[in-house]
């Protein structure tokens, strides 16, 4: 009964999505306020029904209703309740329902918080959200219904994939979807603006926090996925250039470009067409990611079961949404007024460089990811380009981006003097070079490339500090020293520096050793002494495990005791549960390989991973930067219904100081 209720709620949600997609849009075209006013109630209603539907599926998992096929596939009687809660999104069908729910949350937030924007504009934007909801609800309902019954009901279910029985994977998909779907807001704004025929700085200003928040969530989702892969897959790597990882990375890159181009459009009124295009691209790439993961056109470690029908559905949907938006763009963009020319050395040019580099990097990752399809289509055989391609190309493209970062905030809009900007960054450059050199000398084993990378990272860090110091020196009474926007930007840029340092160390100084160890043995790796003291049997709720007890000694002191496990789940899967002695400057990673000599000894993986935490710390700082910048009060101020003329910057610029980006 309850699952049917969930199904009915989903259908009602779909009907409301249709109402939302059609009525307000019609109202906006015909200028009928009564029709436009439907947008908000329809958004609220859609959310309520989808939430009910989602709650019903969760309920089915909680009460172990194995008459529901999806529950039977992804849960069993031994599964603890918290994994049953997260098992709702452990498979294809349920994770789609979560996608839909999050889309409805964003629509709800947009409807509730947008009262200061013109009704006509919001009616169109919410309609676009409705169209997206139609696509995803009907995709869920017609091709991947999670409420389908299994007749006769099973006594016990299968099991949730053990890889997913883990905290990292409980939170990873919701965060990732928050990011993916969050770009729908910027997309809806862009389409509404194109329908409107003009790009007001007011909507750009108003959409900036939304983009920042979506991008922040996406950053967090990707970082969680990477962290999970690191400790759960047992290989010690943190990024594999796997198609599914790339699928989330594509919208991230475009989203980063969008954040910067929106800043330019909002402040200077330029880059309008480009901002629209990036907003369309960010969400289209999120859809493309969904397609790649769920259609089975590419092989990946974590792809969902391949199904041509589902693939066709998403592709048609993608063609309608992205194709429609781009067609609208092709018609309307030429009518946008051209951007006023700017001098070559200006904040605009630097941000343009940022956008181009990020967009090219995105194209590079896209080409690399789709290459197997290209090769297949032209009969070149099944080939995929591996990590070497991505590693090289990405470094080549990102190096100039990183080097350019400190210039951006220091350079004034519409033109600045190269010499002045250089002079203000001279100290930062000097400190970065000294710091990089010292680090290179102190830590033997760093390659020249790594030393250069660290120097670049320090350059970003010191350059950011130089900007903050400058800002402080030129403070004026009665005005905030640092706005949220500025703090967020600086934090995100520092995050880039921390991330680069982490990558450089983790890639060049890591030590990976595989040794045969029996209880009582000890091994030395990278200055650590590892003692294998005991091998014992461990029983979990739905698995049994061989558990090793290892002491990690460093500098003659006991650092920690670790318990890596080799788990055998009751449903047959074998999993390696690595144990990590985590530290700010280095991780020590222990994983049980295979038993040797009839279980007398084990092949044990001992990995030394210096600075690996910095990789995720940097990502977290970028995320936090995105969130903080979204708190900028100026962006939430009620917008004046101004003409679209390229408005001057609203606040007088500080003397000899760049406006904030």
């Amino acid at each position: 009964m309850m699952p049917e209720l969930g199904q009915v709620a989903l259908i009602l949600g779909l009907l409301l999505a249709v109402v939302l997609a059609v009525v307000p849009l019609l109202g906006a075209q015909l200028n009928q306020p009564a029709l436009m006013a439907v947008a908000r109630p329809a958004s609220y209603g859609m959310f309520v029904f989808v939430a009910i539907s989602y709650a019903m599926l969760t309920h089915a998992f909680m009460v172990q209703d194995f008459s529901v096929a999806y529950v039977a596939q992804n849960s069993n009687l031994e599964l603890p309740w918290y994994y049953r809660f997260s098992a709702v999104w452990g498979g294809h069908e349920g994770s789609l329902l979560l996608w839909v729910l999050i889309l409805c949350v964003w629509t709800l937030a947009l409807a509730a918080l947008s009262r200061s924007l013109p009704d006509r504009f919001m009616a169109r934007a919410l309609s676009v959200m409705g169209m997206i909801a139609i696509g995803f609800i009907s995709f869920t309902f017609f091709t991947s219904n999670p409420f389908e019954r299994h007749v006769p009901p099973l006594a016990d279910g299968n099991d949730l994939n053990p890889l997913l029985q883990d905290f990292g994977l409980i939170v990873h998909p919701p965060m990732l979807y928050m990011g993916y779907v969050g770009f729908a807001v910027a997309f809806a704004f862009a389409v509404a603006a194109l329908l409107d025929g003009r790009v007001d700085q007011q909507w750009v200003r108003w959409s900036r926090p939304w983009t920042n928040v979506a991008w922040g969530f996406l950053t967090l989702g990707i970082a969680l996925g990477s962290w999970w892969a690191y400790y759960e897959l047992g290989w010690g790597g943190w990024w594999f250039w796997d198609p599914v990882e790339n699928a989330s990375f594509l919208p991230w890159l475009v989203g980063a470009a969008l954040i910067h181009s929106q800043a330019v459009t909002e402040k200077r009124g330029t880059f309008k067409a480009w901002t629209l295009l990036l907003a369309i691209a960010a969400f289209s790439l999120s859809l493309l990611g969904t397609f790649l993961v769920r259609s089975g056109v590419l092989t990946s470690v974590h792809a969902f079961a391949s199904d041509p029908e589902r693939g066709t559905f998403i592709l048609v949907f993608l063609a309608i949404i992205a194709g429609g938006a781009l067609t609208l763009y092709a018609i309307r963009a030429p009518r946008l007024e051209p951007s006023p020319p700017t001098r070559l050395f200006s904040r605009e040019s630097l941000l343009l460089a940022n956008n181009i580099l990020l967009a090219v990097a995105c194209a590079m990752v896209l080409i690399g990811t789709l290459y197997p399809l290209v090769a297949d289509a032209f009969d070149l055989g099944k080939v995929s380009v591996g990590p070497p391609y991505f590693g090289l190309m990405f470094t080549v493209l990102m190096a100039p981006l990183v080097v350019l970062i400190p210039f951006g905030p220091m350079t004034r809009w519409s033109g600045d003097d190269v010499g002045t900007v250089f002079a203000s960054l001279r100290t930062a450059l000097l400190l970065a070079v000294i710091g990089g050199a010292v680090w290179w000398i102190v830590r033997s084993g760093l390659t020249l490339k790594a030393a250069l990378g660290i120097t670049a990272a320090l350059w970003v860090a010191f350059g950011t500090f130089a900007f903050l110091r400058r800002r402080w020196q030129l403070r004026q009474p009665g005005r905030p020293y640092f706005t949220a926007e500025m703090v967020g930007m600086s934090l995100a840029h520092l995050g880039v520096a921390v991330f680069v340092i982490g990558v450089m160390f983790a890639e060049t100084l890591n030590v990976e050793r595989d040794v045969r160890m029996a209880p009582g043995d000890s091994a030395e790796v990278a200055g650590y002494t590892i003692k294998f003291t005991e091998l014992r049997h461990h029983e979990g709720p739905n698995f049994v495990a061989d558990e090793g007890v290892f002491e990690v000694w460093y500098n003659g002191k006991l650092s920690s005791e670790q318990h890596p496990q080799k788990r055998q789940y009751l449903r047959g899967q074998v999993m390696t549960e690595a144990a990590i002695d985590a530290g700010f400057f280095a991780d020590f990673y222990i994983a049980m390989g295979e038993p040797l000599d009839n279980g007398q000894a084990w092949a044990v993986r001992l990995y030394y991973k210096p600075y690996i935490r910095w990789v995720w710390l940097g990502a977290l700082m970028m995320m936090l930067g995105g969130f903080i910048a979204a708190c900028e009060r100026r962006l939430r101020e009620p917008v004046k219904r101004s003409a679209e003329a390229p408005a001057p910057v609203t606040e007088p610029a500080l003397p000899a100081l760049p406006e904030r980006a």
Partner: protein, 175 residues
Amino acid sequence: MWRALIPLIVFALIGALLWSGIGNDPTLVPSPLVGKPAPEFSAPVLNEPQRSISKQDLLGQPYLLNVFASWCPACRVEHPVLNDYAQRGELTIYGLNYKDLPEDANRWLAQFGNPYAGILVDPEGRIGLDFGVYGAPETFVIDAQGTIVYKHIGPLTPADIETKIKPLLQGDRSS
């Protein structure tokens, strides 16, 4: 006007590409070798350079030739599956250590287990070339007469073995 059309055109091209990919099982590559006698091979055995295994040595019983390498992450995914089936004696699996170094391969096997009845060493990928190997992992099913009856690209799952490989082998044994 023209410039504004570029994104749409790019998107259309990508869309067409994706369309062509739908329904093609990415792990299924039509191999011209399926149904033909396996290419002749003779290669030294890992850790026993003086011994070698040739196609003739393996005639008389069906076996799997699994292309693996220590540098191949997907091989780690399928490896427990191979270990399982080899341990239960359900499959005879020979390994082709493809474009790899012996010391890397040994370390890798110590870590992940060794399901192979014998491992052929193919450091330059010559045998791989004869078999039309695109990458690792790939698995060839070769029957008692030395004919390739199936080729699998990508990691093997228990489902692949049960539904695609075992039926072929059973037919072979009974005949």
